[in-house]
Symmetry: C2
Subunit: 247 residues, 2 copies
């Protein structure tokens, strides 16, 4: 039963509100208020040893395009510059030891949580994806193969499934590139439908970080870049996570 237990709706982006307006977010000087380096964020995010299952690893349902591009980018991680991001069952696993700022925490008696983009655990049926991140350039690539449970029009991925994949890739990139935590806006122009079972490649870039916000862009296309599936932009709010108390 998930009927109750929540009392807080976190209010976002209120630092642009008129003086005197209520808002739970403090006004912070841009960038300088954020002390965590990309290195420390990445090393916490990508633990060298963990018992957690990484869902961003190849399986038998990956199409040949997805598999070969995965290995191409995996090579790039060896020479430095690129990092393969692990993908755990919940964001709780990604931010271990940290939590949302007080006042933003929701309480519940549920224990079985999943990050939305890993909600379907049957291989190949839902989201298959892996994100590679290039810290020096603040860029990411997401290889995304929608399964038949992500359908919209018959035979094609639901626009909402791509929107969520964009939001998730933006989100991880924003966090690692500059402690971007919350989506403030998401604007998507759809160009072509993605056939279920095929590969779509999301190219994400941080365009600028200004006034506690990360401005990002994404182009989603086929591997050969001949078909553009969608273009989008997103704005994320910077917000530092707090250390979790040991109690």
């Amino acid at each position: 039963m998930i009927r109750r237990g929540f009392q807080v709706a976190a209010r976002l982006g209120h630092h642009r509100a008129p003086p005197g307006a209520p808002g739970i977010l403090p006004r912070l000087a841009p960038a300088s208020a954020f002390g965590s380096s990309a290195d420390s964020l990445v090393s916490r995010f990508c633990p060298e040893k963990t018992d957690l299952k990484d869902y961003a690893l190849p399986n038998a349902t990956w199409c040949p395009d997805m598999l070969s591009l995965y290995h191409e980018f995996l090579e790039k991680t060896k020479s430095g510059g690129w990092i393969k991001l692990p993908s755990f069952k919940s964001n709780r696993d990604h931010i271990q030891g940290l939590k949302l700022p007080s006042g933003l925490v929701a309480t519940s008696d549920k224990t079985d949580w999943r990050i939305f983009t890993r909600c379907i655990q049957v291989e190949g049926q839902g989201y298959e994806y892996v994100i590679f991140f290039q810290p020096s350039k603040k860029k990411s690539i997401c290889l995304f193969q929608p399964g038949p449970y992500l359908e919209g029009a018959p035979g094609f991925a639901h626009g909402g499934s791509l929107a969520a994949m964009m939001d998730e890739t933006f989100s991880k990139t924003a966090y690692l590139a500059g402690e971007g935590l919350f989506t403030l806006s998401l604007n998507i122009r759809f160009k072509n439908l993605i056939p279920v079972g095929s590969l779509a490649v999301l190219n994400v870039e941080v365009e600028k970080i200004e006034d506690q916000k990360l401005y990002m862009s994404c182009i989603t296309q086929s591997r050969d870049q001949q078909t553009v599936y969608a273009k989008s932009s997103g704005v994320f709010l910077q917000l530092q996570l707090e250390e979790e108390s040991s109690q």
Copy 2:
């Protein structure tokens, strides 16, 4: 295995392309080219007798707010004016006897498809929602309760899960209000996070239908309208489905 079987990537919205540019969509006069009345679309969409499971019915996981608002709108269907939309496992079930225009059809050997917003079948864990549609006003209301498999930040719904819910509510409304089939754009401004397990109410309106496009808006808020979760707009392309051959 879902490795192959797709050859067509449908190209959307190309009727705005420069003269001579390739495009699979014919230029049609607005509105007049679309002959199906809302009544005939609705009656096909909402079959009186069917063996298909309707997922938009109350279950034990619905929170009291969701349940009582559901019954409030159900009352409005009795006096006419509002229609409760059924929600089947796949859009194939909603458009029985029809298909996408030739050239937009994807082929595959898969048989187990699910519409994205019904991808999780365990009650209460994923999407719980029901859409009510008011044909005369071209308006919809979606009651949405995100489960713990739709998580983004710990305890809150993923922004992408709300984006998909908006796209889906836009999509059904656009189809029934004017044969809107494909999302051309989706713009979302997030205001507050939705706690997992709580009710969010999406209010969708068709603002105008012009040049083969439906322009729509959505405001998502708590039942008491004291908390706005997000505002969005969407543009959908009109496109008539074809009769399926009996072969």
